[in-house]
């Protein structure tokens, strides 16, 4: 009997719990909702830029602003807009996340996704005018076409081996042939992979037990073969060995896998009240394409297709004539995210690795908290 009644009571409570989201629906008054969801662009300052994220922010109004997985699932969307293989660029819209997540993703892409880059350069000979340390620095910045996951980290006192080091050689001399000069430009294509390891093991302390050809069956080379590293005159030469190791962008920017990774908020152009007659024509003339006149009234088309006009909208929205009519807003939880890879890994792979790193961070923290 008691069990049964308890069960009933629980059921009732369950019923209440499921009914609750419906009760939450009475949402914020429009002016607060605008503050919560949008940044309003003003002439010289943006309003409502902070994100409204404290759970009890709107408690006085009886509105629960706390986070729940269900709410997140309802609001979350991801849409890829552009995937440009040639330029290794990816653009996507990500909707329904907090700025801190978008920013963490951006920071991890720039500074924590590992790549391989030249770290130690051993000069055998350098009679060119570029100083050893300058050339070594330039070499470090050359992106190398290798998947870093195939290699181990080399930290502190670790010995260089075929599992953590890639060796490349560069040996070039400039000479005159008749009236022509050969090898005046030293390009990244001159960097040649040495799968058997260092040719100067006594100096570099790098000895391979086996050839690297097994790890890298397709070989390796710089992603782009026309990067100018140095220039020579007849009689000058450069002979060096470059050792590449795995690293992260936060140690040195040469390990950053992206040229840039950035996001911006989704712009919205809003007509605050109806614009008709001459004013509509004038506004359409001020913002060609973005504002069109339909049935004598001004209408907004797609702001994303008219990016260059958005700053003009901002200016107009502060002018006496247009201020009551037009406003530029940005959605706070809608990010247009762009990743430009250096070409080492495709941007979609980078993003996936960045998310894996972030998930791994969460797990590491959970272990110790």
């Amino acid at each position: 009997m008691t069990d049964e009644s308890a069960g009933k009571r629980r059921k009732k409570q369950d019923g209440k719990a499921t009914a609750q989201p419906a009760r939450e629906e009475p949402s914020l008054p429009p002016h607060l909702e605008l503050q919560r969801t949008h940044v309003v662009a003003g002439a010289d300052i943006n309003a409502n830029t902070m994100s409204a994220d404290a759970a009890n922010m709107f408690m006085a109004l009886g509105i629960d602003n706390s986070w729940s997985y269900e709410k997140f699932l309802k609001g979350f969307q991801l849409r890829i807009n552009k995937m440009d293989k040639e330029n290794a660029t990816l653009e996507f819209d990500i909707i329904g996340i907090d700025a801190s997540i978008a920013n963490a993703l951006r920071r991890i892409l720039i500074s924590e996704v590992p790549t391989m880059a030249i770290e130690h350069v051993f000069f055998v000979n350098n009679t060119s005018i570029i100083a050893d340390e300058m050339l070594a620095h330039r070499l470090g910045l050359v992106p190398l076409q290798v998947d870093p996951n195939l290699f181990e980290w080399k930290q502190g006192e670790d010995v260089a081996s075929e599992r953590n080091t890639i060796v490349m050689g560069l040996n070039i001399a400039c000479r005159r042939e008749g009236t022509k000069m050969i090898n005046t430009d030293v390009l990244s294509s001159e960097l040649k992979w040495l799968p058997e390891g260092s040719e100067l093991p006594d100096e570099t302390l790098c000895r391979f037990v086996s050839s690297q050809a097994e790890i890298l069956p397709n070989g390796m080379a710089p992603t782009v073969d026309n990067i100018l590293l140095a220039r020579l005159r007849p009689g000058q030469c450069i002979h060096l060995e470059a050792h590449c190791i795995k690293g992260q962008g936060r140690e040195h920017a040469k390990w950053s896998p992206v040229a840039t990774a950035w996001y911006r908020l989704n712009p919205e152009v809003v007509l605050l009240q109806e614009v008709g007659g001459d004013a509509a024509e004038d506004l359409a003339a001020e913002l060609p394409g973005l504002i069109v006149v339909q049935d004598g009234k001004a209408c907004v088309t797609d702001p994303r297709a008219h990016d260059i006009l958005l700053e003009k909208v901002r200016r107009l929205s502060s002018e006496e004539r247009w201020a009551p009519y037009i406003q530029l807003r940005k959605r706070k939880d809608h990010f247009i995210f762009t990743v430009e890879s250096t070409g080492i890994l495709p941007p979609e792979v980078l993003l996936q690795r960045a998310l894996d790193i972030m998930i791994h961070k969460c797990q590491e923290l959970l272990k110790d908290v």
Binding site: D53, F76, M83, L365
Partner: protein, 121 residues
């Protein structure tokens, strides 16, 4: 010259824990979490997630010194759970959220048709 080694930025020294919990001696239900070798990436993320929890009275983070590679997160709850539990659930929710983002991203990459799908695992 006297700069710390570059690896100091991300290698947690053996005598330190990744996360150390220091209970606040003066305020009830408050604690400071000292996280080694993390920066604004994690600090801001965890702080934002904590603020979205109903039971949190205060959450904030700081990096006391740029050459001491540690992060402090201060948390005060309303007493219905300990700061540890609050941080655990915040990180747990973040992980859940990130897994979902990852899944949706991979699905959309597949929809968009990628030539290098073999690299996506």
């Amino acid at each position: 010259m006297n700069a710390p080694d570059r690896y100091e930025k991300f290698v947690v020294p053996e005598h330190l824990l990744k996360v150390e919990v220091r209970k606040d001696t003066k305020v009830a239900d408050a604690a400071t979490f000292v996280i080694q070798r993390e920066d604004h990436t994690v600090g801001n993320l965890v702080r934002m997630q904590l603020l979205e929890d109903k039971d949190i009275m205060f959450a904030g983070y700081k990096i006391p010194h740029p050459l001491q590679y540690q992060l402090l997160i201060k948390v005060q709850t309303n007493g219905s759970k300990t700061p540890q539990r609050a941080v655990q659930s915040a990180i747990g929710s973040l992980e859940e959220e990130l897994r979902d983002i990852r899944e949706k991203f991979l699905a959309d990459v597949a929809r968009f048709g990628s030539g290098e799908e073999s690299m996506l695992a």
